[in-house]
């Protein structure tokens, strides 16, 4: 069987504690993954500066070339993994088997990660607003306009406590390596695959192995990563986000509550935007924080709900190998049933209508897993409890709300697509601080422009601008003047 070790800044470590990753349908073991105890992490991270030092031996331009090569290796090559190797097909199969995502979606996520790696130079150019990346490498330099600037790395490593349910999140930590910041990754229990494959591709492309630490493990490992590292990302539910709110060391990514808002000026033509609404709700099995969980409009909401339901309601649970499979399985026992229980409770409220009801039962229970089929719910008011819910499957409410009240009522929104040409409202939307990514016009919430920052800029998170003054002589000596 495939055995995957802990990776301690490039050194494989075979732990006495191993977690068996199992196939969600057959229950067959797929791999044994070594588990890191918290002490290992705390101790290793004390030497994290070595990861940054190793990366700084390589000029950023050369690192970017290696990353382009890694993008191809990640997507196409048979790469070392633990005591074996892994082809791209193996990867998609293994990821699907443990997470419940259909295989074609796993391949889609591979393409997404590879795209980000291939276009890393452009992405960094945009994230840094055109700053010479050598300034970040050196810590100081002269901008094009002739001013000395300094950006100081706040941590030699970026840590990430990763989820099991959304392979799309990996794009967020990829820019660390060309910024010469090492990686400390704690994979989700069902999704060790992406961190290991990307690290393997990086190493095969010539990036120093000392830059990568991967610590599979339980809650203790996650807590140790967060305690030991000065800059960490964590992915979780609302309580996780609340717990780390205000902690400058942690960037917490939670539910997206992404929405589409239809302006009064366009809502009578809502049918023109049906495809965008369906794509935003349904793509990637609705698992991402960028999937739409609420369509808001002042009128026609019952018709909109019915039309979306007609399109997504009939979707069936298909085997993961089926190229037409649109739904991911819930692999954690009891989770789908519990989610459906919460939805059923909300459906009892006045003003709440289940638009997908006529397409049959939403909860499909299999021997070792369960599915939830797409669910569209109409709310006659934002006050309905279900109007502020988000679930990990194609689920959306269609909420009736006057345009004038929408910004106040929508709550936190990771991606807000506002379809309108009402300039006054666009101004208000642009000023609204509880919308993170704002799309103006008919853009699906799921269609991200990689040249834009996501939930805060990673550059701002990892580097801090500060004063840096040098004498004329030193600047001349360094060739900066």
């Amino acid at each position: 069987m495939l055995e995957i070790p802990v990776l301690r800044f490039g050194q494989p470590y075979d732990s006495l504690e191993k977690d068996e990753v199992k196939h969600f349908i057959t229950g067959e073991p797929i791999a044994k993954v070594s588990q890191a105890n918290g002490g290992i992490i705390q101790r290793d991270v004390r030497k994290a500066q070595q990861a940054r030092d190793a990366l700084r031996e390589i000029p950023p331009a050369q690192l970017l070339e290696m990353i382009t090569k890694a993008a191809d290796l990640y997507l196409n090559a048979e790469l070392p993994l633990g005591n074996g190797t892994q082809t791209p097909d193996d990867f998609a199969h293994q990821q699907s088997a443990s997470t419940g995502l259909p295989e074609h979606m796993c391949k889609g996520n591979m393409a997404k990660n590879s795209f980000v790696l291939t276009n890393m130079n452009k992405i960094l150019d945009c994230l840094t607003r055109g700053l010479d990346i050598n300034i970040l490498s050196r810590g100081y330099g002269i901008e094009n306009r002739g001013v000395v600037v300094s950006y100081q790395a706040q941590s030699p490593v970026l840590a990430a406590v990763l989820p099991s349910n959304s392979p799309g999140v990996h794009t967020l930590w990829l820019p660390a390596i060309p910024l010469q910041i090492g990686l400390v990754l704690k994979p989700g229990p069902q999704e060790p695959w992406t961190p290991y494959r990307i690290a393997s591709a990086f190493m095969q492309a010539g990036i120093p192995k000392e830059a990568f630490a991967i610590y599979p493990g339980g809650a203790e490992a996650g807590a140790a990563v967060l305690a030991a590292c000065d800059r960490s990302m964590i992915f979780g539910g609302t309580p996780t986000v609340e717990r780390y709110r205000g902690d400058h060391r942690v960037q917490a990514h939670g539910p997206g509550f992404s929405k589409i808002l239809l302006g009064d000026d366009v809502v009578d033509d809502w049918e023109k935007y049906l495809d965008i609404m369906v794509e935003s709700i349904y793509i990637n099995s609705g698992r991402g924080c960028i999937n739409c969980s609420g369509i808001w409009a002042s009128r026609h909401t019952k018709e909109i709900a019915a039309a979306i339901a007609e399109r997504v309601g009939p979707a069936e649970a298909l085997p993961p190998q089926d190229p037409n499979a649109g739904l991911a399985a819930f692999t954690v026992p009891g989770m789908a049933k519990a989610v459906w229980g919460m939805i059923e409770a909300d459906l009892k409220e006045n003003g709440v209508t289940h638009a997908t009801e006529k397409f049959g039962s939403r909860l499909v229970e299999k021997e070792n897993c369960a599915y939830l089929r797409p669910t569209i719910i109409h709310c006659s008011s934002p006050a309905n409890a279900v109007a502020s819910k988000e679930y990990m499957f194609p689920f959306s409410t269609v909420v009736e709300c006057p345009q004038a009240q929408m910004i106040d009522k929508i709550g936190y929104t990771l991606v807000g697509t506002a379809i309108t040409e009402d300039e006054a409202w666009i101004r208000q939307l642009s000023d609204c601080v509880h919308i993170d990514r704002l799309n103006i016009g008919p853009i699906p919430t799921t269609r991200l422009n990689w040249l834009q920052p996501h939930e805060g800029s990673i550059i701002d998170f990892l580097f801090r601008g500060r004063a840096y003054q040098m004498s004329e002589e030193r600047m001349a000596k360094l060739g900066l003047k």
Partner: protein, 377 residues
Amino acid sequence: MVAVETLSADEMQSRTKAAREKLDAHTVELVQWHFHESTGCPFWLEQKAGLNFDPLTEVKCFEDLRKFPLFEDDWLRGGPARRWVPKAYEQSPTYIFETGGTTGVPKSRVVIDDFRIDYENFSHTLPDEYFPKGANWLMLGPSGPRRLRLAVEHLAQYRGGISFCIDLDPRWVVKLIKKGWMEHLEAYKQHCIDQALTILSAGHDIKCMFGTPKLIESLCLELEKQGKSFKDTGITGIFSGGTEFTPQWTRFCVEEYFGGPPEVSGIYMTPTYGNTLMGLAASKPVTAADGYKISYYAPEPRAVLEVVDFDDPNQVVDYGATGRVKLTTLTKEFFVPGFLERDEGERELPYAKYPWDGVSGVRPYHATASATTVGVY
């Protein structure tokens, strides 16, 4: 050098049989004690009236204890505490040791001398080579109304040394975790480690210690930050315990913090399993050759650990099989005729030094594990 002792099958069988006979006799003696009007405590004498059997005539061996309903630790909450004091000890100085209590009323156990007896017995399992007689101790564990603080102090005194303690309130630690105040949790842990480092730097010639796994780890990490190693403390013997004391954790400490196995590093660490309701279960020697496997053996006949079926607490599982840990306590001060611990593990064969069943792989019981908060203590 602490080696694993092996015996011939015949010798092992003979020791096991003798131990069982001793347990049976001890059980009968203790049940007579706890259920006789002249010696028993008010709690058990009152319970006796509700039993559908007469413990004085119908308990003839250990197996007969299965006639009792399972012990409920909720009975230990609230007063009057004296209802647990056997009549024979009415005039004796009495301690109260608490467990839990982060919120609500803690569970309390009355003790007269048991903690001393238990830790004296445990003392005989410690190798003098690493726990030298006369050496001073560091108690890097909970203070307050806990048995452990006094018990470790008594252990040190029994072995001719003095115990230096830190102040540690485990209830506050659990509250910090539940509130999600991780920064405060780290600060409190550091506060504990600072106390330990102060004691260690004060010329007390400390050679032995008790520590919780998390605090031992933190102490080692802090020493490394100061450019030192654990060996520099001069401590050669450590005893610790709890479900966090896993084979992997042991290996990590031995290989990375202590500098190798005892014969190389001169540092010996032994795990223990116990709580306020029982004495202290010692461990078979833990070795790299055995994958750092940890097997615990209760201090029979004063306490018995069984690994029982998850659905039938009267059914012991097969050797090597997994089940819930069930505790029976049989001392003159305290009678627990079968209590389901919040832990599970695998049933182990008797060992030469402890010729009765043991339990390995102890971890939180899977059905309640997610609700359990494990603090620095």
